[in-house]
Symmetry: C2
Subunit: 152 residues, 2 copies
DNA sequence: TGAACTGCGACAAAAATAGTCCTATACTGA
DNA sequence: TCAGTATAGGACTATTTTTGTCGCAGTTCA
């Protein structure tokens, strides 16, 4: 639950790849799909979408492909996920103005909306560049006690 | 995307309801389902699950129902969601020890695992009691620096 | 021109969610 | 002790979302 879709995963992987290969003028969807072993056509769609929202620049034809349209440092995971998975989040019924259908209830939503924002904040605070840096670099995300509850 | 399942929603709503009615010794699944207009049988299952993990106490028979097994203040949204939706999170392939299938790639996962922890932290920081308090009360979520992933 | 690309719409397949049905068991009170 | 109200839970079906495929059109370049 609370899982990223694979498309979003793929998108992040691809952007990370691009961030790690700034030398290549442009990389094709197939190249990336091959290196990661993911369905080329699916990745293609994801990249097309990212191009559409302006995170990537594409050019067709031989030796064509994609490149980041901005510095990796300025692209947040949030933007990528949002572009791919849509206007996100948490509660099932926070769709704009329309409140929770007939249910006058759903008071749960307000508190969760705040949680929602926190999560968005987390996602906004991490950039593609952050993800691309050497794994040895200590992550600077909150170091709180994270105790994963063991499942039953 | 990154959406809670309805079951989790229902569970949170139910716990909130229980937190708001400490006077009632025990509330039936049907009562809660009726007030929120959600499928009774489905809610029943959710409550059964929450009982199983120890968040609720149940008793059958007439005037039976459920009650919180601990103070609302000590029950986090994380626990509830975890109980219902399972051992959570973000990336599709963070299933214990087994790494990302054949893909040697998936380097995306590590940075995201950190984001993951941040989100878990957010969820752990909000309690059922927090959700049940008057809407006007400022939520205490998001105030802390939750994540600092600064690269800049 | 043709090979290697992107762009896109329409599907199809698979998986996860949501919800229902049915039966068993437990407790209560008259 | 029996009827009514509840929980417990397995098996199923339905619905929705996600994932992946196909085919074709447009682009670029050698």
């Amino acid at each position: 639950m609370l899982r990223l879709t694979k498309k979003a995963d793929y998108g992040l992987m691809a952007l990370k790849y691009l961030a790690e290969h700034p030398d290549s003028v442009s990389v094709s969807a197939k190249d990336i799909a091959d290196t990661y072993g993911i369905p080329p056509q699916l990745l293609a769609k994801v990249l097309q979408r990212l191009t559409k929202v302006g995170l990537l620049r594409s050019h067709a034809g031989m030796n064509g492909g994609y490149e980041l349209s901005r510095a990796a440092r300025t692209i947040s995971a949030f933007e990528v996920i949002h572009a791919i998975d849509g206007p996100l989040f948490i509660t099932s019924c926070t769709k704009g103005s329309k409140s929770c259908e007939l249910e006058p209830s759903c008071t749960i939503k307000e508190p969760l909306a705040r949680v929602n924002e926190s999560i968005a904040g987390v996602l906004k605070s991490i950039s593609i560049h952050d993800m691309a840096e050497d794994e040895s670099t200590p992550g600077r995300v909150a170091e709180q006690p994270l105790v994963m509850l063991t499942s039953s």
